[in-house]
């Protein structure tokens, strides 16, 4: 495994490098990239190492009236340790907490998890359920916003253009009338750590004081070529009272979630198993 590496220390230098380099890949935490390059060496490749970029906009977290913005280099560990995120978006906290191991979470970044665009990306799944927006910055220093659902275009493919870098992710604030939301991340696998999701389900269901559902985001992982938002299942929930969801409604909801799944059979599980389990864990949200 050999590659050239350049280490920009500011966003400006980073954009300069993107402009200059012809054959490059971004390296954030490099937890996926190094494994990939070991398997498939890429001759003449330059890795633009993002880990030395110091700009707070790229590494930090900021709260505003609109929501919370994380820089692309915000790490999984930082997500886990952030009390505000834990309180406001439990689904994100859970997804980061279930990611790999303590050691890997120190370097793995939210941007890396998104740009790898794995169908089983855990943080990605949570952010889809949260309906986050991706902020893409190009070499002319212009930004554009792309909703996360359209950011993923296929297995390991994203909407990023060759002259763009993922700059930050903004999670919209919760509905102002919500209280005690139902939010969590269900990861199915064989081990309790160092595990890649066999199936995952992220949900962020916002309810008002009476428990009536105002907004819902439900996303599935490792069940389709990309992480998917189960929009019809989300709509189905609006207006219902969370605690009063009937067995029949639960099943209807699970069926709707399942309609977004088109899983594959691989070494870790069959398509049959993934569907079976996805249906079950979808119901389990209300149990």
């Amino acid at each position: 495994m050999e590659f050239n590496i350049i280490n920009p220390v500011s966003v400006k230098e980073l954009l300069g490098a993107v402009k200059k380099e012809k054959h490059f890949r971004f390296g954030a935490g490099c937890t996926d990239l190094l494994m990939e390059l070991r398997k498939k060496p890429d001759e003449g490749l330059t890795v633009i190492n993002l880990a030395q970029v110091k700009d707070n906009s790229f590494t930090g977290i900021k709260k505003s009236a609109k929501g919370i913005r994380m820089g692309a280099m915000f790490t999984a560990h930082q997500i886990v340790m952030n009390e505000e995120l834990k309180k406001t978006f439990p689904v994100l906290h859970d997804s980061a907490h279930n990611l790999a191991s303590t050691q890997i979470r120190q370097v793995a970044t939210v941007g890396g998890n998104l740009c790898t665009a794995s169908p089983s990306g855990d943080i990605a799944c949570a952010l889809v359920a949260l309906r986050a927006d991706c902020e893409l910055l190009n070499t002319t220093q212009k930004t554009r916003m792309v909703n996360i659902s359209t950011f993923f275009t296929g297995v390991r493919q994203t909407a990023l253009k060759p002259n763009e870098v993922l700059y930050g992710i903004t999670i919209p604030a919760n509905h102002k009338n919500t209280k005690n939301n139902y939010s969590g991340f269900i990861k199915v696998g064989t081990r309790r750590s160092m595990e890649c999701s066999v199936v995952s389900l992220a949900y962020h269901i916002q309810v008002n004081v009476e428990g009536k559902i105002l907004k819902a985001g439900v996303a599935i992982g490792a069940s389709a070529p990309t992480v998917r938002l189960a929009e019809s299942a989300c709509k189905f929930l609006i207006g219902k009272t969370f605690k009063n969801i009937t067995q029949k409604e639960k099943e209807e909801f699970a069926d709707k979630v399942l309609s977004y799944a088109s899983p594959i059979t691989d070494i870790r599980a069959t398509a049959w198993y993934r569907k079976e389990v996805l249906y079950n864990i979808s119901k389990s949200i209300f149990e």
């Binding site: 199915v188 064989t190 081990r191 309790r192 070494i267 389990v277 119901k283 149990e287």
Partner: protein
Amino acid sequence: MLPKNYLQKKFEKMKPKLKVIGTSVPKQDAGTRVTGKAIYGHDIKLPGMLHGAILRTEHPSAIIESIDTSAARKLEGVYCVITADDVDVNNIGYKRDHPILKKGEANCTRDEIAAVAAQTKEIAKQALKLIKVKYKVRKGIYDVQEALKEQAPQINKFISGKFSNKNIAETFHYEHGNLEEEKKKSAHIVTRLFTLPRMTHACMATSNVTASYNTLDKKLLLYSSTQVPFLYQRDMAHALKMNPSDIRVIQPIIGGGFGSKLDIHPFEPICALLSIKTGKPVQILYSREEEFIASPIRQPMEIELTAGVDKDGNFTFREINIVKDNGAYTSWGATTPFVIMQSFSSLYKLKACRFNATAVYTNNVFAGSFRGYGNPQATFALERVIDLLADKLGMDKAEIRLKNANEKGEVTGQGLHYDTCGHKDCLETVIKKSKYHSFRNTNNGALRNTNKNESTNNGSRFKKGIGLASMLHVGGGAKIYRSDGCGTTIKIDPYGYCTIITGSNEIGQGSETVLAMMASEELGIDLKKIKVINTDTDVKPWDVGVHASRTSFVAGNSLLGAIKILKEKLNKKAGELLKSDNTAYEYENGNIYPLRNTNKNESTNTENKASKLTKEIANTDSYIRNDSDFVKLDKVVREMHFTEPNELAVANFFYEPSSKFQDKDFKGNVSGSYAFAAQAIEVEVDTYTGNVKVTDIYVAQDVGKVLNPLLLGGQIEGGILQGVGYALTEELLMHEGKILNPNFHNYKMLTAADIPNIHFFPIETNDKEGPYGAKGVGEAPLIPTAAAIANAVCNALGLEVIDLPITPEKVMKALASKNTETIQTKNK
């Protein structure tokens, strides 16, 4: 998780008089290891050293039509390229059926076709790519039944063909009692066919060897991770056509053995050959992927077990037919039926047994030895069938086990002598501690809400179950080689420091710490002043190696024998210096105290009824020690060395266990003592995902005597997690001879996060053969684990488990078609 100090608390009352033995002394090399200062094989760098790499076959079964190494030889930085045509060597392996480099055909995905020595690892790898091999691909045989068909081609051409079928590598037959008679007496008979998977050791340190051949004196130095240095020296010499004494084996710190380093593997003589050819040191290190592909596995097998029970619940007979997938070559793994038959013939009282095992060649990867040596497979089948027999009888599953449990003084049908036996104690302990009966009685879809993401408040999703299993294993070595003994040389220097030169070796199990503790106990020397030398075949005396849970037992007894001789010398000189005619002395704090006997009947050593070799000092009231009446140990040694008649404070001892070779019918008392254990395991099965969560494991193990609670706890915890992996997650998946998951990503070895609550209860039976009464403990913790987990899953779901591992997918398939009543669906 384990409560802090749980071991100390548990063992507080078990050390009445001993001062060091029975205390939690950390491993002597713990600090070195955790600070990264340990020197593993990977850290060795010799001047001018080259790097070796091996080209393996592209196809598990193929004719090798030609090998062109010319381009590789021309590459700058390449010193040597070898193929089978370039070397004059013998085959390796237990049956000598394994060529080091393959010629003419490839029969296994691991097959070594060529090897390179080059200046750097990168050049070596590049050179491998330049080697052109022409293959004619064959279909290959990956199923034992296919291999046994008449039209199947012969897979291994190096065997004599003494068996009925050309693809049979080895057979075992054993029987005792009148099987037909016992069948007639049986009220119920159960037959099941069980399938066991390939599991790999996954040692944290990958395989490695460094060879340095001296072209002047024609001697070979090897830095190797072998578990059996003297057998390794012999096998290496045979392979290379050398004199064994011209080969020196040094063991650097070993990062995991678990049996994987019992056999010699082709990469080791290949590395030696590269060094011999180049006259330079050569090192071969495996990558993690190579480790998964080319290191041994636990032998996969099909076990058909028929067992009977009479109307009162007494076991009557067992009939066993085992077909093992031998892979392409025969390793020590083929001899696991020695141990397997022991469990079938002698675990629980049994009147009649007939046992057949056949190892069949295929084009799959071959096995090796693995902690438990066939016993986890045997115990899984046996303990599963015991549950089924209990169900047929309508008898309680704990009761049927207690009724048939082995007892002290029993001589089994196979001729094993149970001089001590904690079988019943172990079973009773886990039954009581796990509240086995109240658990089973209240288990009606009970729920435990443990994790927000895994559990809900719906009573039907999580099913709890509890399972029991026990085990028998050798606890005092196993006489399978001409000697199961161990030699020791002990010396004390003029400054009062002690050096133990032992034949045994350390592969991480903590034996050197336990040996140092014994010397400290007996000689009153501080542990910091005791060194253990155990890594060099040029220095140390004979020992058969680390296997069969034997090291503390055999090397311990050997050391105690040497100490006894040394003390006689020291006592004599101390008596002279103290102008005393005492015969009893106490060694403590670097001093020797004469003891005065106040009791006329001379009863000595009432506390230590266990070993003949341990402490002869008296701890009874009849002896009196005057604390101001002593001579310093180092002074005694100086006086021995430097005054006439000038004697060294050195002693040698060779200990050979009392065990016997088994006869040709596999009967005889093969071990110096026997270890027993029982486990009760609670599981919670998630019927939404099929995940089996092991919540609590209650372990009782007859360890004879606890020598070091901390190290014992380590063996128990590590073994159990390996057992849980065998039960639930670990399997090397293969398709047509190729390994599909050669990485930790898809080979699901469990992590620290998966450790269940472990409740450990040591049972002390004080075996008179063992050092301080101790038995071997290393393998036992993992042996009954898969069996108990399978029984617990069956209890939880009302289904049958007939193969391992019990993956979530298999559970879901079984739940989806509950009428089939078996969890066997292969998810491949």
